[in-house]
């Protein structure tokens, strides 16, 4: 994403849009994480309270997803950089 193509007004506008998108992205990640960890960790509905094993599973599931997502982000940036160089951009 080459920002030099924008004048200062446009750069201000774009960073406001990016900020809003990051917030939406975070909310979507949050909702998906609740779905993912609920489906993986909660299978016993003999009680409505979260058991200690279920709770530990939810915390591990959350931590592991964040680390997974962070590592994908790093590799993703490298792949993008390789592609940009390959296209001589």
């Amino acid at each position: 994403m080459d920002f030099s193509q924008f004048n200062s007004a446009e750069q201000a506008h774009i960073s406001k849009v990016i900020e809003k998108k990051q917030m939406q992205d975070f909310m979507r990640m949050y909702s998906n994480l609740v779905d993912r960890c609920f489906n993986a960790c909660c299978n016993d509905f003999t009680s409505k309270a979260l058991g200690s094993k279920e709770e530990q599973c939810v915390l591990n599931c959350t931590d592991k997803f964040l680390k997974h997502s962070e590592r994908v982000g790093a590799r993703f940036a490298e792949q993008n950089a390789d592609m940009m160089n390959a296209q001589g951009q």
Binding site: M1, D25, F26, F45, L59, S69, G73
Partner: protein, 101 residues
């Protein structure tokens, strides 16, 4: 993104920003509701569909499932906040593509 001028805090007119926030809140509530309907359907309803009514087991399962979903929703929220501002401020290091631009 509205290029229109900011709506003043007039008492009679419609304040676009307040509207936008209210609509966003509505969308979030609906989204959580729809996710619970879908998750608890998968957990509690057997796909044999022998009859159209909910049996005892399914009804009790639904009640507990909704309660548990809210608890997990709270737990995950607390965990994300405890990850420090990065997570809470909506942009975990690698968590979003923007971080890697």
């Amino acid at each position: 993104m509205s290029f229109l001028g900011r709506g003043g805090q007039s008492s009679s007119g419609v304040n676009p920003e307040k509207m936008e926030m209210a609509v966003e809140q509505l969308d979030m509530i609906t989204d959580v509701f729809n996710r619970i309907v879908s998750s608890c359907h998968a957990k509690c309803i057997s796909p044999r569909y022998a009859e159209g009514d909910l049996n005892k087991g399914e009804s009790v399962c639904i009640d507990r499932c909704v309660a548990k979903f809210f608890e997990v929703n709270k737990k995950v929220g607390e965990r994300l906040q405890s990850q420090g501002p990065g997570a809470a401020a909506g942009g975990i290091g690698g968590g979003s593509a923007f971080g890697s631009l």
